[in-house]
Symmetry: C2
Subunit: 273 residues, 2 copies
């Protein structure tokens, strides 16, 4: 699936916190074999959330959008209302969500208030996602936009709630059969990215099914060092790992020929996720 | 200025790293008094970088776009080429950038190669941004899109290079006269977000020039705790801080009346940036 991630919150857009939610989700979706087209962060604003949604749907052509943030009881928690408005869906009190929220408060002898009830307002037809860690449920919204089926998954912004809900509920829905991520990390000491570039270009031609990426870790001139990442997807874990090992051998041979001063250290050997 | 931040790199979009660059830039731009409309992350792809640019310009109406990543010597470092293509500008060898790159390699007895030269390719008219930490220079691109003047600042993806270049070169260009961010953080122990919501709503009405935001830190029912953030901009630092202190006093009075069990702890007192 073509995925977009939207993280919502003024604290993100103003740089008061580092957005770890989108990294968590992107990593999970990558391992599951999906293509992440874009991550977008916007503040708590109807206008900006609507713009982020239309960007994901129209500009990036995503079928799956995962949002985080804006599900709580305060007036600026507006994600589900903004999604409903943007998609022309009615915002209604979701009975299943309401029951669950009531149960949690009642257990501690707390009454329902307007602010607490608000967390059960969802686009009509949405399915609540249980929140085993906190209160606000997530929402699963399946709908059609221009005849195209899309899935929106709205999760809370508190990382431990979001992560737990993704792992216990969302992940299994999105698992693709027979698609495994194979990857390895290799440290190349005394290697300059500018020297490696032609070598990687050649290797990439020989192994087109692999993604090969150099990340400069030291200083290009003063203290050159590269972290090389290679990855591919395979329907057969064993075969994928073997192909990955092949590529690493070819890399070592190439390096010995062209850049013998480079020291190769396998940081993470070829592994399937 | 209306700002958008675009962070570029497959490692970001696949969640292999947490994007700290956009948080750094968003915080800096906030302190400088600018409005951040959106942060977008995309992979190393011409198509996706072009889409991110058009989203920032057309959908979010940004006048200032800061990009990070994709300035290095490898074939997938394509940010400046992608910007040039998207804006219909010619990609040319920037003589000033080339001289600086050559100087850095020559100092260590290293010759120029195609991969190294590539880092001096910039949209015509771009001004190189010196990189005091690494090699690849940044680029400042002033251009017109549909009659609107826009500024694009392209910075490298390596955080220590990006941060140093922003602080030593970009920041002073973007400073607004007489616009100071005033902010405070307050811990509210034993406070539930759902109980605070009406109180914050009231306070917000009385102090419309302030941004007041509650962040749940504990568990809404089991172990409730809130981090409250308040901020405003003022052309007079002293006055801004006084108004902030006023608001905090009003908050404490309100809390004593309505939620006397809540313990108030000032984490960061009213401060001007």
């Amino acid at each position: 699936m073509r995925c977009c991630i939207i993280t919502i919150g003024n604290e993100i857009i103003q740089g008061r916190i580092v957005d770890t939610n989108s990294a968590f989700l992107a990593r999970k979706l990558s391992i599951l074999g999906h293509e992440i087209r874009a991550k977008i962060s916007v503040g708590d604003s109807h206008e900006l959330i609507a713009k982020a949604l239309s960007t994901c749907l129209d500009t990036f052509g995503c079928d799956l959008i995962i949002t985080t943030g804006g599900l709580g009881p305060t007036p600026d928690d507006i994600t589900l209302e903004a999604i409903a408005r943007a998609l022309g869906l009615e915002l209604t009190l979701n009975e299943e969500a309401l029951k669950e929220i009531e149960r949690k408060y009642r257990e501690k002898g707390l009454e329902m208030t307007e602010a607490r009830k608000k967390m059960a307002l969802m686009p009509r037809g949405a399915k609540p996602i249980p929140n085993p860690v906190g209160i606000a449920p997530g929402a699963l919204i399946e709908t059609y936009v221009g005849g195209r089926k899309i899935l929106i998954v709205a999760l809370p912004g508190v990382p431990r709630e979001m992560e737990s809900m993704f792992s216990s509920f969302v992940e299994k829905m999105l698992r693709l059969p027979n698609r495994f991520l194979i990857e390895a990390y290799i440290d190349l000491l005394n290697a300059r990215e500018s020297d490696l570039a032609p070598l990687i270009k050649e290797l990439q031609k020989r192994y087109p099914e692999f993604y090969i990426k150099s990340h400069p870790m030291g200083h290009e001139i003063e203290k050159p060092s590269i972290l090389l990442y290679i990855s591919t997807y395979d329907s057969d874990k064993q075969r994928g790992v073997s192909r990955c090992i092949d590529l690493l051998k070819a890399l070592e041979t190439k390096l010995r020929e062209a850049l013998p001063h480079v020291e190769v250290k396998i940081r993470t050997p070829c592994t399937s996720q």
